[in-house]
Subunit: 237 residues, 2 copies
């Protein structure tokens, strides 16, 4: 049996015995926006790979206030670290934009990392990389103002090598972009208006156009400890 | 040779050959506040264990603005994840309060995790746990106001099982607490005054006193997705 799982970076050093066992229990489904994949605190039996689309990770208070931890694009695993959280999911996950999701049994992963050191190292590298993304988010929340953070969010969506006539499409709706950035909707609107004023970007619904990235880079990257173009995006290519 | 390194949780499954090699190159030093241990982007040759005291992790922009990523207490490793960052430190580290620091060669760690799966799994568990702390920080920055965040910071320093006459000592100065929480000094002062008003805590320099934790819990934990007492602090015991 030939498995497309072997093309996923995390599994690159896994043998066919493990991959075939995983393949036999694999579920592949297309989900619409709003589909809840799992709930914070539930016993974790499966982990998920985002094949396409976007998935929101969040937690809620007893009063129903929602904290968005991240909104992840294709290529990411979710729920896998439940292995290190007493077997329960450390966040809730909901499809943010139509997504193709591969679901896999967590027990196989748990057993395999205990025996396959290369898999453990690949997972360690992935978790360390994600930790770095989170600490970058904390950095930005500390030193960038709201408009600079929206500018940074747009820059990370853009083709950073493009010199002229830049067009950026928001991957999900503006209310979600606001919560991804930890802003109230009214703060987001004000900050977006200020960003347009400062950088001359042109906003048409979910499409943002500009002559080039220079103004956005000058405005947002001055309050960042990394240089433009973003190193981690380069590394991911 | 008997090594105290074997009492460190990360090394619990390491054999004496590895521990003795590490021990032979170990440096143990007492540092005062302000001592820089390493700089973001420098080639990483050693990693560090905080035996006592506090260490600030930070990065700086070209303009000199400083983003504090975390301030870590005793029991934490720093610089170890440079292994997964092309061998360079992913942040700068500076002693925040007098600290005893053990410095160890990174090359030994790198070689050992490639051969010792139990060490790789222990490190994976530690990094996943730290990732969870960072996502909790992002949650709090999204849904707690500034005063609630200071309250949460104090609660995490307190003995959460103590019923009456609670006394909390700030572990480092107020300016550092402000930057740890990602606040400007004036925002911090206003938020602290509001917290005192809302919860009746009594602030005497670096000491905070209150009859019990109820008011603080009621005020801060209503804007958190975890229950009091904090689960992760329980787990650490």
């Amino acid at each position: 049996m030939d498995s497309d799982l072997k093309y996923i970076a995390l599994f690159q050093d896994c043998d066919s015995t493990f991959l075939n066992a995983l393949e036999a229990q694999k579920q592949r489904q297309n989900h619409k926006k709003g589909k809840v994949l799992f709930i914070y605190g539930d016993t974790a039996e499966r982990f998920y790979f985002i094949k396409s689309g976007w998935v929101k990770l969040f937690r809620e208070t007893l009063d129903g206030a929602q904290a968005v931890i991240d909104i992840l694009p294709a290529g990411n695993f979710i729920g896998d670290t439940a292995i290190f959280e007493n077997g329960v999911y450390p966040y809730s996950a909901e499809v943010a934009e139509s997504a193709e999701i591969i679901s896999l049994p967590l027990s196989n992963l748990k057993k395999e990392i205990e025996n396959n050191n290369k898999l453990a190292l690949n997972m360690l590298k992935a978790v360390a990389g994600y930790r770095r993304q989170l600490d970058k988010e904390i950095e930005h929340r500390s030193i960038q103002n709201a408009s600079q953070r929206i500018g940074c969010f747009l820059l990370r969506l853009a083709d950073q090598s493009k010199k002229n006539n830049v067009i950026i499409h928001l991957p999900y709706d503006k209310a979600l972009v606001a919560s991804r950035l930890g802003m109230q909707p009214e703060t987001f609107s004000r900050a977006l208006a200020k960003l347009r004023e400062k950088t001359g970007i042109c906003i048409k619904g979910a499409t943002i156009e500009m002559d080039n990235l220079d103004q956005l880079v000058s405005y947002s990257c001055s309050a960042c400890t990394s240089k433009f173009p973003c190193e981690d995006l380069q590394a991911a290519e």
